[in-house]
Structure formats: C-alpha cells, structure tokens
Amino acid sequence: MTLGVIIVIVVALAFDFTNGFHDAANSIATVVSTRVLSPRYAVAWAAFFNFVAFLVFKTHVASTIAKDVVTQDVLTIGVVFAGLVGAIGWNLVTFYLGLPTSSSHALVGGIAGAAVARAGSHVLQSDGLRKIGVFIVLSPLIGLALGLILTLVIQWAFHKYRKVEKLNRGFRRAQLMSAAAFSLGHGGNDAQKTMGVILAVLIASGHVSKTSGVPLWVVLVAHSAIGLGTLSGGWRIVKTMGSRITRLQPVGGVAAETGAAVTLFFASAHGIPVSTTHTITGAIVGVGASSRLSAVRWGVAGQVVWAWVLTIPGAFAIAAVTSLLVQAAAR
C-alpha cells in the first residue's frame, strides 16, 4: 500500500470521526434533553450501537458513495483526498457555528466538487445524484410524518391512563431502546459513507477490483472511527437539536427516534446515503407539530434549513479549490 493511499484512508477515518462527533450527537440529543441518560452514558450507549451496526446492515450505501456519485475512472487518490478535505472543512465550519448540517451531503458535495474540478461536469453520475437528491428532501419529510403519527398513536393509546408519572417512567425506559435503534441506523448509514470513500481509493489504487465489495477490515475500522467520534461528543449541536427546535418529553423522544430510525433502516437497506441530521430534525419537528406548530421554534429550524441548502455547494467549493491545488502540486 502506497503512502498516498494510507494518507487518504487516515483522512477518511478522520472524517468518520468528525462525522461521529458532529452527526452522532443528534442520536443522543433527545435522550439527553429528556434527562433519560446523563451525557456521559448517552454517548457511550450511542457509540456502542454505532459500532455493532456492521452486524445488521449490508454495505449498499458504501457502494453508492464509491460508484454512483461520479464515474469511477476520475476517482484518483488526489480527487478522493480533495473531496474529503472539502467535507471535513465544511463540517468544521458548521461545527464551530453550532449548525446541525449533514456530513453525508458534505461528503457527496466534496467528492463531486473535487471530481468536477479535475475532469469537468460530465463525470457526475446523474442516476446516483438523483437518488441522493430526492432523499435530501424526502428523508426529513418521512421522519417528520413518522414522528408525528407515532406521537398521535401513543397519545391515543394512553389517553385514558391517569398515572402520568408512571407513564413517563415507562417511556424513559422505552427511549433507551429507540435511541439504540437510531444509533444503529446512524452507524449503519454514516459509517458506510467512509467505507465508500476507502473502497473508492482502494479501487483507484488497484488494491481491489471494480466489482469488489467492501473488505471486512474497512468495515471494522469505519465503525470504530464513528464510535470513537461519538464518544468524544458534540455538545453545541446536541443543544440545538434537543431543546432549541422544540422541547421534548420522553414520549416525544421515543416517537422522534423511532420515526427517524425506521427512515434510516429503509435508506440503508436501499443503499441511499441520507443525513441522520435531516432525519432526526424532521422527526423532532413532527413531534412538536403534533401539538401545535407554534411549539416548533421555526427560526432555529429555518437556520438549519439554510445550513442544509448551503452544505453541498460549500463542500463542493472547498473540495474544488483543494483539487486544483493538488493538481498544481502534482505537476
């Protein structure tokens, strides 16, 4: 394995780590905000389920990232490196600003930007990008609908139950399960994006064939990196997701996490790289909207939407500039 390949793999794992502390914070925000778990135990809980997700999901999402964003012949080590720099750069900017943007779309934007800067826009894979683009919009809407419907179903099922304290206690326990399910979905979808990047660089360097699946060691290191990232936490974003969009009770936490987990399971099974941030935000808004729309703080939600809109162009631009610099340095 050449030094260049090793460097790109290390940078990819660093991206996975930043994805952990940036996005994985979302999977525990509701648990922390409803005080079911202390932040320390919540991150450990989420990190564990992030890691074991490799036992549950196949690697369809990794294949989409490696093969369906840009044509494979343009994916050189330099392009993958520049794409990663674009995604990490964007993640760090939005992390500093406390905005829950999508690491996934930063990665797609980064790879697309680096490839276009190297070879032009014809390298973009319209089918793959169409699938990703549709689910940028659809995944939060599915999460929102499921979060809302689950809340209504739970309210209807327990509307005659008078012991509110006991009910809340029961849902606090249930939230441990829903948080675990969401963390599993997060690990399954997000760790695979890094696997996709590493698979792309292994194909580009001739270490594996173009038709090859993801090697097991890649699966294990990707899940380890995202789990460690989760352990390191991301409290600015936890605060935004857990309390600034809408205030949650344990019942709402269960509904939001379950709705988002179902969406992520579906996306992972179909090889669609979706944003865990978009999905859980949609589900939290759905829970808030089940009582009244004014329960949702639309100013914060709108700020989040703007961050989403800017993510792909932002990462695209950083990656394109990096790609041009890499090309200039290689001459």
Partner: protein, 59 residues
C-alpha cells in the same frame, strides 16, 4: 379554521404533500410509490388538522 383564518398546520401539511408529489417525476422508478405514499399521508394529515381546528373553533 382558527380565529377565522386558515389552520397554519394544515397549510404546512399541504405544502409538504406538494413537495412529495413534485418529487415523483424526479425520483427513480422504485422510489415513486414511496413519494406518492408520503404525499398522501400529508394530505390526510392536512385534512385531519383542518377538521381538528374547525371543531375547536366552533362555539
């Protein structure tokens, strides 16, 4: 209706439904039924929300 105006939540759901239906021609064949289903769910939610607001506003 709330206070003589149109229920804001119903409007939000109608917009969400419109977005889902707008995605149908763009989505790949296998995901079109999903986009349609989610759109229909939002239409139902909009109708229920409007009815809920209307029943609350009755004297």
């Amino acid at each position: 209706m709330t206070g003589g105006g149109i229920d804001r939540r119903a409007i939000f759901f109608v917009i969400a439904a419109a977005v889902c239906f707008a995605l149908v021609p763009v989505a790949q064949e296998e995901f079109r039924p999903l986009a349609i289903t989610v759109g229909v769910v939002y239409v139902v939610l909009a109708v229920l929300s409007a009815l809920d607001a209307w029943s609350r506003s009755r004297p």
